[in-house]
């Protein structure tokens, strides 16, 4: 039996997991997806009966933090079965094959599983100068993605790079990096946002596709609603301090020790949609805000350009570093005030003769002025 005819359950048992482990995993996945408990059976059944979905996982311009995150997911089965074994048929950083053998395995998967495999892309695609900034096996990443996407069942954009371009697309974007959705149309596409995305979220999206045979419900920016419908701010445990107006002002002040809200430290929680506050990271150990650092908004488009990370207001473009909208606004306010004063003085000088005239004879003669 080839690897791809086996079910996830077969693979798990083969790996030495017990049925009990498997059921726990199914329950966890159902919970992550926000399904009611009656659906645990549905998830388990899908994993038990459906053959694994072939996955091609491509790496473009990226730092591999998405892969790193994924293999650190809290349940070993996630990495073991969904990954190795969602059976990555091709992934540059983890596959055993190399060189021509690897490229062949990519071609084989595309050919053998036409319309059935999932294309997961980690990284952005450089388009400038015909895409020379990212070439693998003699092809540009642009070509590779195009070829692989053509026959894919769905495209998963892992992380901010693939969903929004991340740091490569930050100004001035020298390589002309674009996210996947700017390049590919006509395919179901899911932006699994974050830098990196939370491992359980990544796994959850795959399990959803497997269980229900369709892609999960998405928000307007194509992020799965189950994980990205609420702001970090809405699930943040420091939120009562926000409402009470209790803010940290510097990382070493008393308020920081008391665990007050990090809003004034530039926390982007109020403008960032992600599940960090609920799922947390590394097996639910912590997340940035819990360890005293403001959210930098890594699951949002253009978060590098909307800096700095440690002030609430974004730098105002075109006016140099450290110019916020407030500084520019205040400057314009002063300029306006000066303008008004000058205008008032000029008006009075010009109208003095008129005033004198009118004071002399009260009847209106303004028209002649």
């Amino acid at each position: 039996m080839s690897k791809n005819q086996k079910t996830y359950y077969d693979l798990a048992i083969e790996k030495g997991y017990s049925r009990r482990d498997f059921m726990k995993f199914s329950a966890m996945m159902a919970a992550l997806l926000g399904l009611e408990s009656s659906s645990i059976g549905q998830v388990a059944k899908a994993l038990e009966t459906k053959t694994r979905i072939p996955v091609i996982w491509l790496h473009g311009q990226e730092c591999t933090c998405c892969s790193e995150s994924f293999i650190r997911s809290s349940h070993p089965l996630v990495a073991d079965i969904l990954l190795d074994k969602i059976s990555l048929d091709y992934t540059e950083t983890l596959m055993a094959a190399a060189g021509h053998q690897a490229e062949k395995s990519l071609q084989d998967t595309i050919r053998d599983y036409k319309g059935k495999y999932i294309l997961a892309v980690e990284g952005s695609i450089p388009l400038n100068n015909n895409g020379v900034y990212c070439c693998i096996g003699g092809k540009t990443f642009e070509q590779i993605v195009e070829e692989a996407a053509k026959d894919a069942y769905a495209v998963l954009a892992w992380g901010n790079c693939a969903s929004a371009g991340c740091v490569q697309a930050a100004k001035p974007n020298p390589t002309g990096a674009v996210p996947i959705h700017k390049m590919i149309s006509g395919k179901p596409l899911i932006n699994v946002q974050g830098c990196p995305p939370i491992a359980e979220v990544m796994a959850g999206v795959l399990v959803h596709i497997l269980t229900f045979g369709q892609i999960p419900e998405l928000d307007r920016l194509k992020r799965p609603k189950a994980f990205y419908s609420r702001r970090v701010h809405d699930t943040c445990y420091r939120r009562p301090n926000f409402d009470a107006g209790l803010f940290v002002q510097s990382f070493d002040d008393e308020n920081a020790k008391r665990g007050f809200c990090l809003y004034k430290m530039g926390c982007k929680g109020p403008v960032t949609y992600n599940a960090c506050g609920v799922m947390e990271w590394n097996n639910g150990t912590s997340f940035p805000i819990k360890s005293g650092h403001p959210c930098i908004g890594c699951s949002e488009e253009g978060f590098w350009d909307n800096g700095p990370f440690y002030t609430h207001l974004t730098n105002f473009p075109g006016f140099g570093i450290e110019s916020t909208a407030d500084k520019v606004g205040l400057g314009l306010g002063i300029a306006t005030g000066v303008g008004i004063a000058a205008h008032a003085i000029s008006t009075n000088i010009r109208k003095r003769s008129l005033i004198n005239k009118v004071n002399g004879k009260p009847e209106l003669e303004k028209n002649e002025s």
Binding site: R230, G302, L313, T314, D326, G329, H343
Partner: protein
């Protein structure tokens, strides 16, 4: 001099509700954007002041919004000074008038008198721009408000942040726009006083009582010009 009823009661109400809600929105908005930091050993459960500032902002936002919607309606049913057509410079005449006003009133390189009784052409155009600013502020404001509310009205604006590329930029634009309102208010108040002073037509009190004053025969002249 004879009085002309220029601003009807609903227009005057619009103006003052608008002014008050904008002041409330700008003040609370500024606090939301840059809250004063208070060193405090208190527990969060004893205080809610920031939440209160935000709720005032949101209530004022609703007032501002419905008042704005009402004014648009009044632009279709109100008198000729309130009509929407005043605000959009679609004739050549209004552009010529605008240039004239820039030379006479702003640059003061030419003297003449101002034939308009309602808004002058430049003012009208400025208000048109201001209306667009209102619109942008409503769009961005309700856009970022949408996810935090379960009401249907804000939900109608959920597409705004998606179109602009997320809440981050939307919120920045919203913040920046506050300054547009602040600058407008400064210039607006000054010009009201200026026109009162120069044109002697009771501009300042007109927005309270509704009456402006016009020299005899001026109306005929204006009609003449309109032809």
């Amino acid at each position: 001099m004879h009085p002309v009823y220029v601003w009807e009661l609903p227009v005057r109400f619009f103006h003052w509700i608008n002014a008050l809600s904008i002041v409330a929105l700008a003040v609370t908005g500024f606090i939301i954007g840059d809250p004063p930091a208070i060193q405090s050993a208190t527990e969060a459960s004893f205080s809610y002041w920031f939440g209160t500032v935000r709720i005032i902002h949101f209530i004022a936002a609703y007032v501002f919004f419905f008042n704005f919607v009402f004014r648009i309606y009044w632009g279709f049913v109100g008198n000729r000074f309130a009509n929407w057509k005043n605000f959009i410079p679609y004739t050549k005449r209004s552009w010529i008038d605008m240039w004239e006003i820039i030379r006479v009133d702003i640059l003061q390189i030419k003297s003449a008198d101002n034939p308009n009784l309602g808004h002058n052409a430049l003012a009208s155009f400025t208000y048109f721009i201001t209306f667009l600013a209102f619109l942008l502020q409503v769009l961005t404001g309700f856009g970022i408000y949408a996810t935090t509310s379960s009401a249907w009205l804000p939900a109608l604006f959920a597409w705004v942040p998606a179109m602009l590329g997320g809440d981050m930029v939307t919120r920045d634009i919203h913040h920046l726009m506050m300054w547009v309102f602040a600058l407008f208010a400064m210039v607006h108040v000054y010009l009201v006083f200026y026109h009162d002073y120069i044109d002697w037509n009771g501009t300042t009190s007109s927005i309270i009582g509704g009456w402006k004053f016009q020299e005899e025969g001026k109306e005929e002249r204006e009609k003449e010009l309109d032809k």
